[in-house]
């Protein structure tokens, strides 16, 4: 029995190594200067530059971008992540409430219209989506960045599942207590959904923050760049460079992953619950 447990730990530690080592290596290497890295490869011990690369990326424009620094991109990433998560929660809760709690003629039709969006990821209809956003004059705006991403019904599907699990007696008790549709929603349903809202918020924040293809197309003006979008810029500079700024590339990668990773780790239990229940 004991030997078996040791093997379990060996396997798990290898898994942890596979998951953690690349990022740790990237972080350690980012404390060296670009020339050292170019000459002797990724580094296994901390270098003499400290967090210089991070300072450069965050506060100095003109590394990979010409006009904005990392701080602006960080702000844009936050706007995208928060805007997407909040927008999605509000819109999908309202829609799910209508679908689950109301009897009306077009209910089934609306249901299928909304859920048909689960059939086609943005990547598949990327070109016409871009053209429409362009026609609407929403290129290089936050609305253009956020709103089309909300079109998918994942959130609505999630809240529908949750609302279905709320006991009917609660609605009946509320009706006898004199609560109409709005009162019931605000006084009962929203407070009951708090944990679920938190869970879906984390998932959606991470999803929004991590968007790459759509921001790449919609934002050409640097002042709207997100951190993840900025990676595209890195690549374009990298291809032409003599000695690429490896330290700054890695600093950028670490910065782009740090906020969502922190959120996921801190709110781990909510996030796991949300993920497992929503994708059912």
């Amino acid at each position: 029995m004991k030997r078996l447990q040791i093997w379990d730990h060996v396997i798990l530690l290898s898994g942890v190594f596979f998951m953690v080592a690349p990022v740790v290596l990237a972080f350690i290497t980012s404390t060296h200067d670009a020339v050292t890295i170019y000459r002797s490869g990724l580094q296994f011990g901390f270098g003499d530059q400290g967090l210089q690369a991070y300072e450069d990326v965050l506060f100095r424009a003109g590394g990979f971008t010409k006009e904005v620094n990392g701080l602006v991109m960080l702000k844009n990433s936050l706007i995208l992540g928060l805007g997407f998560a909040i927008g999605k929660i509000v819109i999908s809760m309202l829609a799910a409430y209508a679908i689950v709690y109301f009897r009306f003629p077009m209910a089934t039709f609306c249901f299928w219209i909304i859920f048909s969006t689960l059939l086609l990821p943005l990547e598949v209809r990327i070109l016409p989506s871009y053209e429409i956003v362009q026609q609407l004059g929403m290129v290089n705006t936050y609305q253009g960045l956020i709103v089309p991403l909300i079109a998918s019904a994942t959130g609505t599907f999630f809240f529908r599942q949750f609302f279905m699990s709320v006991p009917d007696e609660l609605t009946e008790a509320a009706r006898i207590d004199g609560a109409g549709p709005w009162k019931f929603f605000i006084d009962i349903l929203v407070p009951l959904s708090k944990t679920m809202m938190a869970a879906i918020f984390i998932i959606m924040f991470v999803y929004g923050w991590n968007q790459y293809l759509w921001p790449t197309l919609i934002t050409t003006d640097e002042s709207f760049f997100t951190l993840v979008r900025g990676i595209k810029q890195i690549l374009q500079v990298w291809v032409g460079a003599q000695i690429p700024d490896y330290d700054q590339i890695m600093a950028m990668a670490i910065l782009a992953m740090l906020p969502p990773v922190i959120v996921v780790v801190i709110f781990q239990s909510w996030f796991v619950k949300g993920l497992v229940e929503s994708d059912k």
Partner: protein
């Protein structure tokens, strides 16, 4: 406080399922009515129609002098206690009680007075700041009752409120509900599938089966004179024994043996004879005449002592019909043993074998 009148109330669900088939009941002011029956008999549907949670297909329901068919649940002046309590999990006990009153824009001081008063009656004053999940089953049940009481409604509606409690607590709460209802004098309609609960709580029982009323009456009357074989087997535990009886020009005879005689006064060819387990006694030998009662001869299968009394589960050698007999505590009978039983005429019920309806002799 007020009367409730149901006039040929029907409920038909989509797909032509008739859950309630024309039920009429007059409930007096302050009366405790229990709707009892097996699952699917329409008792919950009926209660929910009174509450306004289900539409009424045809017929009329009045609370007091007012026809409430089209009245919203919140405006019917009723309060309901649900099976799973249906407490708002995110609100404190205080707010659970106060929520309905707040929605009626009641004065804050009056709300506070009512909540405190209900808490005092139900002895939940110490828990007013807690959330429902921090309460035990019995305490939640009290809060659910409290939510009904603070409304000071014309009627209480109870939908199997005790079925989630354990046996001991159920007895305790049963007594308490009865005491409370008598104290407040509020008209109450109570739904249960538990015949013991129905017997002990009701001023009048309404026994429902397949959407129809089988019998309405005081519990003891229903027990003494069940209107049908359905009621006979539903009320009383263990259930009444139902035996087949043949009738012809020579008179009546048990399918299982000879211990019955008498003229076939109703001229039918088949009857059902009912005897409660507690209405038979073990005798040394059959009396033989059969005229003044019923003599039975059975074979013992199992003896089941429950402490205060014991039950014999036996069968008739001839037909295999089964029978349950209550005997004294500490009795000793062996499986396979043959026993003679006797029931007195006043304890013997006759039912039409075809319709199950009671035949008064």
């Amino acid at each position: 406080m007020s009367t409730i009148t149901l006039d040929t109330v029907r409920k038909v669900y989509a797909g032509d399922v008739e859950a309630v088939k024309g039920v009429s009941i007059d409930i007096a002011d302050g009366e405790f009515i229990v709707l009892v029956g097996p699952s699917g008999c329409g008792k919950s549907t009926l209660l929910r129609m009174i509450a306004g949670l289900e539409d009424i297909t045809t017929g009329e329901i009045s609370i007091g002098d007012r026809v409430v068919n089209k009245v919203d649940p919140a405006d019917r002046d009723i309060a309901m206690v649900f099976q799973n309590y249906a407490l708002y999990p995110h609100m404190s006990v205080y707010n659970n009680l106060a929520y309905g009153l707040k929605n009626r824009n009641m004065d804050k001081a009056e709300i506070d007075r009512r909540v405190k008063e209900a808490a005092r009656i139900l002895e939940i004053g110490d828990y007013l700041d807690r959330k429902p999940r921090a309460l035990s089953g019995g305490q939640r049940q009290r809060v659910a009752m409290g939510r009904a009481i603070v409304r000071e409604p014309a009627a209480f509606l109870f939908d199997e409120p005790l079925s989630n409690l354990d046996a001991k607590l159920r007895v305790q709460m049963r007594v308490e509900i009865k005491r409370l209802q008598k104290g407040l004098g509020t008209t109450s309609v109570y739904v249960t599938h538990d015949q013991l609960e129905a017997m002990t709580l009701a001023d009048r029982l309404v026994v429902l089966n397949g959407g129809n009323i089988e019998q309405i009456g005081a519990p003891i009357d229903v027990y003494d004179k069940p209107a049908s074989t359905f009621v006979a087997s539903f009320i009383g535990s263990p259930a009444m024994n139902l035996l087949k009886v043949k009738g012809d020009e020579n008179g009546l005879s048990l399918v299982s043996g000879k211990g019955l005689s008498g003229a076939n006064a109703f001229g039918k060819s088949a009857y059902t004879l009912g005897i409660r387990p507690e209405h038979m006694s073990v005798v040394e030998a059959p009396k033989g005449d059969g005229n003044s009662g019923v003599d039975l001869e059975i074979k013992v299968n199992v003896l089941e002592p429950v402490g205060a009394e014991s039950y014999i589960y036996g069968e008739f050698a001839e037909s295999g019909e089964e029978i349950v007999v209550r005997v004294e505590s500490h009795s000793t009978y062996e499986p396979g043993q043959t026993l003679f039983l006797r029931a007195e005429p006043k304890d013997v019920h006759f039912f039409d074998a075809e319709t199950g309806a009671r035949i008064e002799s």
